[in-house]
Symmetry: C2
Subunit: 342 residues, 2 copies
């Protein structure tokens, strides 16, 4: 007896956005809370539950939720926990799936990291509909990835596969990355990577640029974009440099899984031809001959404001883990407990 809606929850570093989503991928209603208001995880779940229930009541959907899908940094699909959640206030090994399922009286919950959720959203509702093999690359503050092979998200043996922002693109003298190592793709091809490239170029080179009018330590990727579209040569070269590194990295990813498409999502992906032209050129000139011209690089078709919730919600349809809950008289019916892993 399946129900008409799923609940999608996207736990970001600042906001936790949640939405009621129907089977066609329409966000029926959504709202948000502040992620960092409670340092105690139980308090956070309690507030989340209260606000979600309010939204469900408003939409007469209290007993119409089939499952809950959650996207969160370092969320592990297999264990249902957030491990090493460095950008979240609740420490390690947070029992996310269990506590949310319990709060919602046993509704099944599935969780994964935000980039995997984006990939699932794209496959279910976006540019990857009908694709069995593709790679989602999110170009935001960092570089995330969700990999789909044979129609399934790649979780790896431990649930943490798909960290393509942390393949090494510069083996010598590479930039220090947030992960503690040097030379990662993320240190070059993210929004912060573009800003770092701008600072490097401005310091090392002497040619004029409108970027020199700005406080060098405060330059953002948006500043570089604004300068580039007005024709600033140095700013355009920053995008060439970024696109080339991305395209070369994509060539190696293609050698691994030969995807039909690589789908770009996130702020930096909206840089248009400034980024896309050098990216595709570098990818095609770097890739093995047997793969040349086969893998498309395309943009996400999900509205950025909806994408995270949609992606998370898509996971809700297949959620199986239910927390053990005592028999109650809650509006939401209780269900028997089942193990997380299958």
């Amino acid at each position: 007896m399946s129900k008409p809606y799923v609940l999608g929850i996207d736990i970001g570093g600042t906001n936790t956005v949640f939405g009621i989503v129907d089977a066609r991928g329409q966000v029926v209603a959504s709202d948000s809370i502040k992620t960092r208001k409670h340092t105690n995880f139980d308090d956070y779940v309690e507030e989340l539950h209260t606000e979600v229930m309010r939204l469900l009541k408003l939409n007469e959907a209290e007993d119409k939720i089939q499952g809950i899908g959650i996207g969160a940094p370092n969320a592990n699909y297999y264990t249902g926990t957030i491990d090493n959640g460095v950008n979240l206030p609740w420490g390690n090994n947070v029992a996310l799936a269990e506590k949310v399922s319990r709060a919602f009286n046993g509704i099944p919950v599935a969780i994964t990291n935000d980039a995997n959720a984006a990939a699932i959203g794209e496959m279910t509702y976006g540019a990857a509909r009908g694709m069995k093999d593709f790679i989602m690359i999110t170009l935001g503050t960092g570089v995330g990835s969700g990999i789909v092979i044979n129609g399934q998200v790649v979780y790896g043996h431990d649930g943490f596969a798909g960290e393509l922002g942390h393949v090494i693109v510069k083996r010598n003298n590479g930039r220090i990355c947030g992960c503690g190592r040097c030379g990662c793709l993320e240190a070059y091809a993210s929004a912060t990577g573009v800003a770092r490239t701008a600072r490097e170029f401005l310091e090392i080179r002497t040619d004029p640029s409108t970027l020199r009018n700005l406080d060098i330590d405060a330059i953002t990727s948006k500043d570089v974009y604004d300068a580039a579209i007005t024709g600033d040569k140095l700013a355009k070269e920053i995008f060439e440099y970024t696109g080339k590194i991305l395209g070369e990295a994509f060539a190696d990813m293609i050698a691994f899984s030969s995807p039909q498409a690589i789908i770009l999502f996130g702020g930096l992906s909206k840089s248009g031809d400034l980024l896309m032209r050098p990216l595709v050129e570098a990818m095609n000139s770097s890739v093995m001959a047997i793969f040349r011209g086969k893998t498309k690089v395309i943009l996400s078709e999900l509205k950025e404001s909806d994408a995270a919730v949609l992606g998370a919600s898509a996971l809700g349809w297949e959620a199986k883990y239910r927390a053990e809950v005592p028999a109650t008289t809650s509006a939401v019916e209780a269900a028997p407990a089942a193990p997380v892993a299958e």
Copy 2:
């Protein structure tokens, strides 16, 4: 009505080895023909059929073959053809599955490249039994790979995924690779790569080495191994250099699919600690913290002489493609035609 045996065929650059294999992975009998004797593919298939039938008769197995699995360079699982078969004499787009199935009167045939066949063999009969996520790396004349994710071989959207010998490990001044590009893993971490490293080290450096007693242009990886085990310092450094490059490349592969194990196969993998110690050290110091210490590097458990045939044969159990054949009175019963792709 399933039958007790499969036929495994490994088409190598020199020999084509074939064997009758039972459900427990025992090679009941095997034989071989020369791959390059016929430049006409039909003549090759005719000889293969004749010799296989002789072996089947000898073992009273003419009507006991459930399916045929074939491993061959650049063999495409989806199309059933050998594309860009550079080391084979029959040109491009050779209809391997169709012609073999027809020669054998409609027995189902499945084909894949040799490294994927090795991975399937390892999963079915070897070190990867019970593993759902692993990567097979073959260190021979070249570097091949077969990737298994969620218990399935990764073929990619075009059937050519898993070319991990051709990820770029040196982006600047990399060695020219047989694939026509520069800096590929294969140009460093194969048997020929080790020989190239030896030549480079001997030319650039001046320290003594027993390798200097050999004809520099004829040095092989075996020579380097022999020198290293007798304690030759330069030879040992060649293995350190090779192992480090492999270990760093493995760290990037782990970021992609987080495998339970990376399984090594082929001549160079038998170098023992000379290669394994620097490899594992480099892998562990290069890999992201969340993956550290999780992925084992282990050796194939298949006998090298049997491995290729066993791997190919394992594919035979699931083979579905049958060529259309006219009704005949052959010893092998005819079967209806079915399309290659499902």
